[in-house]
Amino acid sequence: MEGERGVIVMSQVAAGYGRTEVLHGVDLTVPEGRVTTLIGSNGSGKSTLLRALLGFIPLWGGDIKVEGISVKGLSRREAARKIAYLPQGKNVPDITAERMVLHGRFPYLDYPRRYRERDYALAWEAMEQMDIGQIAQRHMAELSGGMRQKVYIAMALAQQAPVIVMDEPTTYLDIGQQFRFGEMARRLSREGKTLVLVLHDILLALKISDQIAALKEGKVLCRGTPEEILEAGVTRELYGVGVKPVETETGVQYYYEEPTNL
């Protein structure tokens, strides 16, 4: 990772809610065209860091630059053209999957905002990428949690931003879909997209990430390649659970070690 251009550069970021500071001086560089995953226990500040990156909450200190521009100076629309975001908690609106994905094109519309043929074409392309063309006319509320999640990911893809930020994107996906999500993340990365993910599935994070940043109590405890994170024994410090790499015929596979202090 060293020496690569950082599309997102966070320096001494402090932020929080009300009077509670959650992030205490986070430094992190996200390299362009790579998958960076944030890991950490509940309440460690992962989602707060994403909200600060997206400009949803003000920075109390430090700065975050996206493609060299401070997020403090970006309008909501400019930020949406640079970063597509898949939030953790989502409404289930009573609209069709097609319409939902189409709203990913919203940052590109001018008043009075009406979707054009190109927007429909790009939305359809994103749905085909996620293999959800067959449910285009179904209502969101009629879909299973996993299918909804795929629609939301398609919406983020339709946004065509160079950076895609996803907060726990594998929630509601079955194990097969989780693997397919991993493949899709790698493919997007190969196509030049920069991905920032929050994952609780450490094995998936180790498998698909180029860089992992471990957060603890609002600070970056450690960051590096999956191998470096493994060697540092970070998962044991964060969760009390170790991870063991095992060489197999199909490559390195990771397994959780039984915690000894249950």
């Binding site: 909501r76 975001y85 609209i95 074409a121 509320a141 009629e142």
Partner: protein, 334 residues
């Protein structure tokens, strides 16, 4: 990509229902006009009495019913989408309680009818909405705060209103008239200024359909695609307040229409605002106008309050829809 072409057909059906209800409203009454006589009378034909009845008794009433029905249904649909709550209606942002208090105070000062009563109702509703806005602004117009703030303010304003009516029984009678709602005292002087507000707010709203849909996706999703959700929620609340405030200023409190018409239209057209809003406006206008005609005719020469007819017709239909609607229950989950 397949586009749903049903919308055009539904709009034409809605427009036809509206036109039908308006023609019926103009024709029916103690003096009956055949529909084909209307153009002749309106263009200066017929007797002076016929022209007077049509132009000065029936026309403002029909216009009032169309405008109030359309505005209240539109405001209800917007509030339900913005607050992600299917129980939302204009009353939830203090419209009814504010207008009720405005009229009660106006009556207490001896102004019992006419344009000043409309102005008091409109002013009262806008004042109440403003209080909720100021309260909600501190929380970036959070949906829950708007709803809870509305409930609390409604309670306070209704208590003040009740106190005034307990002290003065004449005021109580007039206040009850306003609360039941109706179009018997409607005149051009009351309808036209409110109509201008309704048409203006409605036109702006129809240009913001995609924004309304994006706001209803939830704050973080909306902000993620570049829409400042809190700011737009305030804009939509303000437009809904203008529509409903202008409507109740001459119609009284016909709150039920803002709840049931959007529910009915959603069953037919779904919740996408581009389809929902025009159809709600047309559906609300047709429903209130038809109910007003029924209210005048059922026990003629006596007149029933239109609010009662609406509840008697709309209530069972609403319950039926809740039990038998297509596709199971589509709640707006958080």
């Amino acid at each position: 990509m397949r586009r749903n072409r049903k919308r055009g057909l539904l709009v034409w059906i809605g427009a036809a229902c509206c036109l039908g209800a308006a023609v019926l409203s103009l024709c029916m009454g103690s003096v009956f006009f055949a529909p084909w006589e209307l153009p002749r009378i309106l263009s200066g034909g017929g007797s002076g009495m016929e022209r007077s009845i049509l132009l000065y008794a029936r026309m403002p009433r029909t216009l009032g019913a169309l405008l109030a029905g359309g505005a209240l249904a539109l405001a209800g649909a917007v509030l339900q989408n913005v607050l992600a709550n299917r129980l939302a209606s204009p009353g939830i942002i203090g419209i009814n309680a504010g207008a009720g208090l405005g009229v009660t105070i106006c009556c207490a000062f001896g102004v019992l009818s006419g344009f000043r009563v409309s102005l008091a109702a409109f002013g009262g509703s806008m004042g109440a909405v403003l209080l909720i806005f100021l309260f909600s602004h501190r929380t970036n117009a959070s949906k829950t705060t708007v709803i809870l703030g509305g409930v609390a303010l409604n309670s306070i304003l209704n208590a003040v209103c009740e106190s005034v009516t307990v002290l003065d029984t004449d005021v109580a009678m007039l206040s009850i008239d306003f609360r039941v709602g109706g179009f018997s005292a409607v005149s051009y002087a009351r309808v036209l200024p409110a109509g201008a507000v309704i048409l203006g707010a409605g036109a702006v709203l129809l240009t913001l359909c995609n924004e309304l849909d994006v706001v209803s996706l939830g704050d973080e999703t909306a902000q993620g695609v570049g829409l400042p959700a809190g700011r737009y929620r305030m804009i939509f609340l303000a437009l809904a307040a203008l529509l409903a405030g202008a409507a109740v200023s001459f119609s009284g409190l016909l709150g039920f229409v803002g709840l049931i018409v959007p529910h009915f239209v959603r069953r037919l057209a779904g919740s996408e605002s581009g389809r929902l809003l025009p159809l709600c406006a047309l559906g609300g206008a047709a429903f209130v106008t038809a109910c007003d005609t029924a209210a005048r005719m059922i026990f003629a020469p006596y007149e029933l309050p239109v609010g009662i007819i609406m509840s008697v017709v709309g209530g069972p239909v609403f319950l039926y829809l809740l039990i038998h609607h297509r596709g199971g229950h589509r709640e707006m989950a958080q």
